[in-house]
């Protein structure tokens, strides 16, 4: 699945961590989680739970079978660094190609 280039990876500094985590959870590309001690972890943010006593995220890193669990308290920031495979418009591209084929064949095809 191809995707659109990542947008500016740097989050708004004023955005609360909880909101940033929610955005990262909704994002279909990889992110970079920067920890409090400066480590940078790249992966897909597959889950988060902010409703428990010690909120956490789960990050799927390429090459690691199990997700890494990080507490919100360990996270300094999250950057949106990977391409977003949910962006883009494959359907419109396909419809355009289909219309071209129909035109050259003299009309739409049917079953």
């Amino acid at each position: 699945v191809s995707g659109e280039p990542a947008r500016d990876g740097a989050p708004d500094a004023s955005e609360p961590l909880e909101a940033l985590v929610e955005r990262a959870f909704d994002y279909r590309g990889d992110v970079t989680v920067v920890t409090i001690d400066g480590e940078e972890l790249v992966g897909f943010l597959a889950n988060r739970n902010g409703d428990v006593q010690d909120p956490f995220v789960q990050l799927l890193e390429s090459g690691r079978p199990d997700p890494r669990t990080l507490r919100y308290a360990e996270i300094r920031t999250i950057r949106f660094t990977g391409n977003d495979p949910a962006a883009g418009n494959r359907h419109a591209t396909w419809l355009g190609r289909r219309a071209e084929v129909d035109r050259s064949a003299g009309g739409p095809s049917g079953a």
């Binding site: 699945v1 889950n47 789960q58 390429s62 495979p85 494959r90 359907h91 396909w94």
Partner: protein, 340 residues
């Protein structure tokens, strides 16, 4: 209805047991997504848009069986992604059949003939191939964004039917569907010898490429009424007749998001097959800690207002059939008469 008697009996007794136990929320079908990798990229699908390293992952057979045992539902539907891309799909199906689970193996059928030829599957009353078919050739190839897929699926269906497999079709309809074309499509599928058909309106996945053609509720009622008002006697549906009446606007149900719980590489998905609001580590945790009152039309949740998908409402229809004499009688009458 086209569901075999043994399956009907298994499901009926299961639901009745839940009722007798006073269990308010119980699963009917486990939606087991062993991978998100797919060999198509359909316009209305929001399931497969992930980074490559996520698409390369899949559940192991042991993980799948643990989920099946945890959940306890009598039926297991295996969507995806394309499940036939799973390297151990044959072993998984064999293990599920050994557990006497009724399995709907959802597939676009591009690899079906190859797998059947290779002896990956054996015919069983517990196994049904549920082939994704969104209409006649023109509509289907447009929906899956690739020419030639309809013809390959038809060929695979013929082959599987000829070899004694149970085969059903699974159709998603979008805004702009032509009732007369859909009726012709149903005729064509019955001509192929499929056991039954399943039909549902599409859901407006936020991540799907096509955001323009999802059916709103009133339009869905009009479309399904036009398609199903005078059903041909030969049409067989592999779903509750009360759900079909719901699609036509003849009866109303509230969503049952726990009826078809979803397990995939991320865990147990909250709250349903369509919405991704997080994941629980166990089925028990999913059932106990999900705020179910936040979902369904009555909740006012805007993402639920136009949803009429079978993953939310088929279980409601089945529960209604066994929850009251009226529901039971209506189910029997519509099943026997063939009138919706």
């Amino acid at each position: 209805m086209s569901v075999p008697l043994s399956q009907m009996w298994t499901v009926s007794t299961y639901v009745l047991r839940q009722k007798l136990r006073g269990r308010q929320r119980y699963p009917l079908v486990l939606m087991l997504e062993p991978l998100f990798r797919c060999n198509l990229a359909c316009a209305g699908c929001g399931k497969i848009q992930y980074p490559a390293h996520v698409l390369r992952r899949h559940l192991t057979v042991a993980q799948c069986l643990r989920a099946v045992d945890e959940c306890g539902a009598p039926m297991v539907s295996i969507p995806g992604g394309e499940p036939l891309l799973h390297p151990e799909i044959g072993a998984l199906i064999e293990a599920l059949v050994a557990r006497r689970k009724y399995v709907y193996l959802c597939t676009n059928a591009l690899l079906l003939k190859e797998k059947v030829d290779a002896g990956v599957f054996r015919p069983s009353r517990y196994l049904s191939f549920s082939v994704h078919m969104d209409g006649l050739r023109e509509e289907h190839d447009e929906a899956v964004c690739r020419d030639g897929v309809y013809d390959r699926a038809v060929q695979a269906i013929r082959e599987a039917v000829a070899r004694g497999f149970r085969v059903t079709t699974n159709t998603t309809l979008f805004d702009g569907a032509s009732p007369s074309r859909v009726r012709r499509f149903f005729d064509a599928m019955m001509d192929l010898g499929v056991e039954g058909m399943m039909v549902s309106p599409g859901y407006s996945y936020a991540k799907a490429p096509d955001q323009e053609h999802f059916l709103r509720r009133q339009k869905a009622h009009r479309l399904f009424s036009a398609i199903l008002s005078r059903p041909a006697r030969r049409w067989r549906f592999n779903q509750s007749p009360l759900f079909l009446q719901f699609l036509m606007g003849k009866r109303d149900f509230e969503c049952t998001p726990w009826g078809m719980p979803t397990y995939n590489i991320f865990g147990w998905q909250r709250p349903c097959y369509l919405l991704q609001e997080g994941y629980a580590a166990t089925f028990e945790e999913l059932m106990a800690s999900t705020g179910w009152e936040r979902y369904g039309r009555k909740s006012g949740n805007p993402r639920c207002q136009d949803c009429m998908v079978h993953s939310g409402y088929e279980a409601s229809a089945v529960d209604h059939a066994f929850g009251s004499w009226r529901g039971f009688v209506d189910t029997v009458v519509t099943t026997v008469s063939g009138r919706l």
